[in-house]
């Protein structure tokens, strides 16, 4: 077998660069897998398909971080409608106004420079 030509993380980031939130789907487990990896954690199978999320989800857990310097900011866990969870943040509202159960939608945040794009969320109503 030749070496793999790309990594799970590189594939994930390449989708983000196109404005897409990608995740893996395990046909044998019939469920979503996140974070992206080489083996399905539910079956041990290496059969994992890449899919694109609709980018809709619900806040599962939320906190406001108070850094020693600078403004407080949100960190949240978001359950996407396809059945996977990821760490992210909800933007465009005050960090303490992010609530569990809130419906949110994905957008790409591009930090620029060497840093890869990341998935963030905004309230679905926005």
């Amino acid at each position: 077998m030749p070496n793999a030509t790309t990594s799970p993380l590189a594939t994930y980031i390449s989708h983000l660069e196109k404005g897409e939130l990608a995740y893996q789907f395990s046909p044998e487990a019939n469920r979503a897998v996140f974070f992206p990896r080489v083996l399905c954690p539910f079956t041990g199978s290496d059969k994992l398909e890449w899919r694109i999320s609709t980018g809709r989800g619900t806040v599962y857990a939320t906190t406001v971080v108070y850094p020693a310097e600078g403004a407080p900011f949100n960190v949240a866990l978001v359950d996407c409608d396809e059945g996977f969870r990821l760490m992210s943040r909800v933007e465009e509202i005050a960090p303490e106004q992010v609530t569990i159960g809130m419906r949110v939608k994905f957008r790409v945040y591009r930090p620029g420079g060497e840093e890869a794009p990341i998935p963030v969320f905004i309230p679905e109503a926005a």
Binding site: L9, F35, Y60, A61, T62, T63, V64, V65, Y66, P67, P72, F73, V75, A76, L77, R85, L86, M87, S88, R89, E96, I100, G101, P111, E115, A116, I118
Partner: protein, 384 residues
């Protein structure tokens, strides 16, 4: 597959090193050595008797080798499982297995950290996770804060409930001569302290201290001839659910559920048989989650359970009688100190903070961000 045998091994020696703020240039290994020296003296064994050695540290990449070099011994069996703060509860099960299998006869489990002296950033290397690090969670605090937010949402747990955990810990610490924080603390004090990661203020978070210690284990047969009453290992269990908080299946149910069930089964005991709980309280939510998952109250009722002084001195269930990671000491990885306190309470050595009935102790270690849970049930002579 029969597993470990109930009561076949015992913890026979236990000691802390210097705690709090140690002398300049004291190393983690120096603290380990102080602990080992004290724990051997505690049981009347000598360094030449030690043929099993276990440790895990944040400041030494190959800590077990460093410790062998330092002590100048050649143990027949060594182990250095690293599961964060619960490493030492894992080591107890591994040492018990090694002693049962005849791979060693006297096992020492040791720890040392100069986290306070060298600073938190120097003491443990941060790992980069491309799926979490860009969002700048303040780890480990924010991970536990996320779990707390979920528990509050699902079960109506309040910040006051969390604060009760810190207040109870402080009241126990006031009875412990070597505890670091003894200033009076109220629920209001906890709530108005500096916010770190909502819902936690700095008083919901464990201390940052130096410290170390060691315990000595041997077979039940040999334990009987030693200086102090043995603390028999009645049950061991573990449960690992995730590494990173974004991969934890349910933020309100920890691996303590599994670790407790396995340990209770081996011990042929249940929560109601435990006279005390010594658990890893890195953050106030830990105490609530683990008391629920270990069966001391129903899921979701932990907030009410810890309130009104129920886990404080004089309450219904003694929890963290040394003052816990919240008020006694927390040198990076705290799991060894709850074993030491469990042993001392079973022996009746705890002075002002001694619990009245002290036959069975549930000792529960936590590692990572609610990630690696390990329970050890210890019992006195009446239990075997």
């Amino acid at each position: 597959m029969d597993g470990l045998k109930r009561g076949s091994t015992a913890i026979v020696g236990a000691a802390e090193s210097d705690l709090g703020q140690v002398a300049d240039e004291m190393s983690p290994m120096d603290l380990c050595a102080q602990g080992i020296s004290g724990a051997l003296a505690d049981c009347g064994l000598a360094m030449k008797d030690v043929d099993g050695l276990f440790c895990a540290m944040t400041q030494q990449r190959m800590s077990i080798i460093s410790l062998i070099e330092y002590l100048g011994i050649q143990p027949k069996f060594i182990g250095s499982s690293m599961t964060g703060g619960s490493s030492f509860e894992f080591h107890v099960a591994q040492a018990a297995a090694a002693i049962e299998a005849g791979l060693c006869s006297v096992a020492v489990i040791a720890y040392g950290s100069t986290q306070r002296s060298v600073g938190r950033k120097q003491a443990s290397q941060r790992e980069v996770n491309p799926y979490e690090t860009p969002f700048k969670p303040f780890l480990p605090t924010s991970a536990y804060a996320l779990a707390a937010s979920r528990h509050m949402h699902q079960y109506g747990t309040t910040r006051e409930n969390l604060a009760e955990v810190a207040v109870a810990a402080r009241k126990w610490a006031q009875l412990n001569p070597v505890a670091w924080e003894k200033k009076p603390l109220t629920v209001a004090d906890v709530l108005k302290a500096r916010m770190i990661s909502h819902p936690f203020t700095v008083r919901d978070c464990c201390l940052v201290t130096d410290g170390g210690g060691a315990i000595v284990m041997t077979s039940a047969a040999r334990a009987k001839s030693l200086k102090k009453p043995p603390a028999y290992v009645l049950g061991c269990g573990h449960g690992v659910t995730h590494m990173n908080i974004s991969s934890m299946p349910d933020l309100t149910i920890t691996g303590a559920k599994q670790s407790g069930e396995v340990a209770y089964k081996m011990a042929k005991l249940s929560a109601k048989d435990c006279d005390m709980v010594q658990l890893y309280d890195a953050f106030t939510i830990n105490t609530i989650l683990f008391l629920e998952d270990l069966g001391f109250c129903k899921k979701g009722e932990g907030g009410a359970f810890v309130s009104n002084g129920n886990i404080a001195p004089g309450g219904g269930l003694p929890v963290n009688t040394n003052g816990g990671g919240l008020s006694y000491c927390h040198p990076g990885m705290y799991g060894l100190f709850i074993l030491i306190e469990g042993v001392r309470q079973l022996r009746g050595e705890c002075g002002e903070r001694q619990v009245r009935k002290h036959d069975v102790a549930m000792v529960h270690g936590n590692g990572g961000v609610l990630s690696a849970q390990a329970s050890v049930i210890l019992g006195g002579g009446a239990t075997v």
